[in-house]
């Protein structure tokens, strides 16, 4: 869209050039941030692996993570397994609750109910994670986990996983809701007109039609559960060895990043560099999941676009 038909000769003012330069630069900030993240994580992580005290083999096969001990062992295995374990508990909670909430909102709720429930979900989504951490430690653990599951410790994977699950319900619900709403209305109407009930329409027509969007919401939820930090730091404990008992403490990638950084870790030490090795491990995990979710979501959007 150019407008060269100037009656009075208007020259581009210097202010316009400056403003345009500035906004172009702001847009390129997005690329700059990505580069900064990848570059800083990579350089410090490379320093970590160059350290004679660390080997690749140890990082990927040792079953302890004790960087601040006298004889440090850097094994990422227990951290990855704890992270996936807690994320899995979170998914068991959030997938059904989020998906069914979405089905209710898009297929059954009246406009008025929607108007009440949606803001509540938004508030739930806006609760800071440190608050969920407090809730997991001071409410879920004593009132649910320790009451119903004997042998549970003060810090345990179940309560951390449950709190993370509650935190990602709004993510799963809102993306699934969008996916269900993106299905053309004619499909729903056709199904109802042919005499199927609302349950059949929801489960056998709408759900399959919106499936790729719903799967995308699950993957994004899983990715958020992996990257969640404060809840698992507060309620998940710090057990630095391989552990598959959810009643006991675990040690996720994120909470060990926090705990190592709290200790005495001056710049340049192996412990300091280990933060970035963990950071890039976490970054790669979430990045792959996010790309995958984006790819699946894009696919379904095309299906119904004309």
């Amino acid at each position: 869209m150019t407008n060269n038909l100037n009656l009075s000769k208007v020259k581009t003012k210097p202010v316009e050039t400056i403003v345009k330069f500035f906004i172009t630069m702001s847009a390129f900030a997005a690329i700059l941030i990505s580069i900064a993240i990848v570059f800083t994580l990579l350089t410090e992580a490379i320093n970590f692996f160059r350290d004679p005290a660390v080997t690749f083999k140890e990082y990927f096969t040792a079953t302890r993570w004790t960087p601040t001990f006298k004889n440090p062992v850097y094994g990422v295995l227990p951290l990855v397994s704890s992270t996936l374990y807690i994320a899995l508990i979170a998914c068991i909670i959030s997938f059904p609750l989020g998906l069914f909430s979405a089905i209710y909102l898009s297929e059954f709720a009246s406009r008025r109910t929607r108007k009440i429930i949606k803001p509540i979900m938004e508030i739930l989504a806006g609760v800071p994670t440190v608050v969920f951490g407090y809730f997991a430690l001071n409410w879920i653990t004593p009132n649910i986990v320790q009451r119903f599951i004997p042998g549970s410790g003060v810090f345990n994977a179940i309560s951390a996983g449950m709190a993370v699950g509650i935190m990602i319900i709004p993510t799963v619900a809102s993306i699934s809701d969008d996916a269900l709403n993106a299905v053309p209305k004619s499909l729903r109407m056709g199904s109802l007109a042919l005499g199927s009930t609302r349950r059949i329409t929801a489960l056998k027509i709408m759900l399959p039609a919106a499936l790729s969007g719903i799967i995308a919401s699950f993957i994004l939820g899983f990715s958020r559960a992996i990257g969640e930090t404060m809840i698992v730091t507060i309620a998940g404990g710090q057990y630095p060895e391989l552990n598959l008992d959810p009643r006991k403490a675990m040690y996720t990638i994120t909470s060990s990043i926090v705990n190592v950084s709290l200790g005495d870790t001056p710049h340049g030490t192996t412990a300091y560099n280990s933060l970035f090795a963990l950071g890039i491990t976490l970054f790669i995990m979430t990045f792959i999941l996010n790309i995958f979710a984006d790819y699946i979501a894009r696919k379904y959007r095309k299906e119904y676009e004309q």
């Binding site: 403003v19 906004i23 997005a30 941030i33 990505s34 951490g133 009930t197 933060l275 790309i291």
Partner: protein, 306 residues
């Protein structure tokens, strides 16, 4: 799908199944809402008498030096009954000022460029891809990046400025996307009308399109800001967790923030600390809810319905 599958069972059985399904849906939505209510009830019931001073509760008639001082203005203390949130509250306000000052020009600028000026080429698509991916990067990784870039490379040290800039980068992708939506909502007729009346493209955008998109952009900004002040993990790397018991005076001062202070208090086992951390959470949730309300008011009041 054939008819026999849809019309299984007697009419009564089908109706029962319908009812059962709907009940499950209700249950799932209720779980999310009840959890939020429980969380808020737990926090308020344990924190209210700490948030309000004894004087305000009418338990004592005069505020004397020996009585716990006002929670909102007093310093942190090793005694849970005297610990106040003053420095953390001030730190959060400092962060808000820095985040607003940095996010507004960058977020609005990038959105205007991408929505109004950017050519449809590979570079633009690459920027957009970057934005989507950045929105999914865990906040703890932004903290690591902030530690390497702002604290070390730029030499800002562990200061409120480093914290504010890290949070800015964290919310920038979200703010840019929201601002673009606001610009997208302005109908093309506005642009065409301005151009038809002889304004340049620059004038059309900056005198017609942007002003009418400002309420939407501000709404996105406020929501981004409310996410920023609830964040804990990235600030841990900015030294906000070391015992900071003074008010920040310059952007390069050390600082602590409300969520960090809450995390600190949650770590202490005694019950009195539970009341203190609940009081901190009440303040944090109060701040966030009022900001969300502000965003809602701006949206309803100023946004034009084209």
């Amino acid at each position: 799908m054939n008819n026999s599958q849809l019309l299984k069972g007697t009419k009564k059985e089908r109706e029962l199944k319908e009812l059962a399904f709907l009940s499950i849906l209700y249950l799932c939505v209720t779980v999310a809402i009840v959890t939020l209510m429980t969380l808020i009830y737990d926090v308020v019931s344990t924190g209210y008498n700490r948030l309000l001073s004894d004087y305000e509760l009418g338990l004592i008639n005069k505020v004397t030096i020996d009585n716990p001082k006002d929670f909102l203005t007093s310093l942190d203390s090793r005694d849970p009954l005297k610990a106040g949130i003053g420095p953390a509250f001030a730190g959060t306000i400092w962060l808000m000022i820095i985040v607003i000052a940095a996010t507004f020009p960058l977020g609005a600028g990038a959105a205007i460029y991408l929505q109004e000026f950017a050519p449809k080429n590979k570079l633009t698509r690459f920027i957009e891809l970057n934005l989507t991916n950045l929105a999914g990067v865990p906040s703890v990784i932004y903290g690591l990046m902030g530690l390497a870039v702002f604290v070390r490379l730029a030499g800002f040290g562990r200061s409120v400025l480093s914290g504010g800039l890290t949070l800015t980068l964290l919310i920038l992708p979200v703010v840019i996307v929201a601002s673009r939506e606001a610009l997208k909502a302005v109908p093309d007729t506005i642009r065409q009308g301005a151009l038809a009346l002889g304004s340049t493209r620059f004038q059309a955008i900056f005198r017609q399109v942007v002003p009418s998109a400002i309420p939407g952009m501000v709404t996105g900004m406020v929501l981004g800001l409310s996410r920023a002040i609830g964040e804990t993990a990235p600030l841990i790397f900015m030294g906000a967790l070391t015992y900071v018991n003074y008010y920040p005076v310059t952007p390069l001062s050390g600082f602590t923030a409300i969520p960090i202070q809450v995390y600190n208090w949650v770590g202490y086992p005694q019950t009195e600390w539970k009341n203190t951390s609940s009081a901190g959470i009440m303040l944090l949730l109060g701040l966030l809810l009022s900001m969300n309300a502000l965003a809602l008011i701006i949206r309803n009041r100023f946004e034009k319905d084209w």
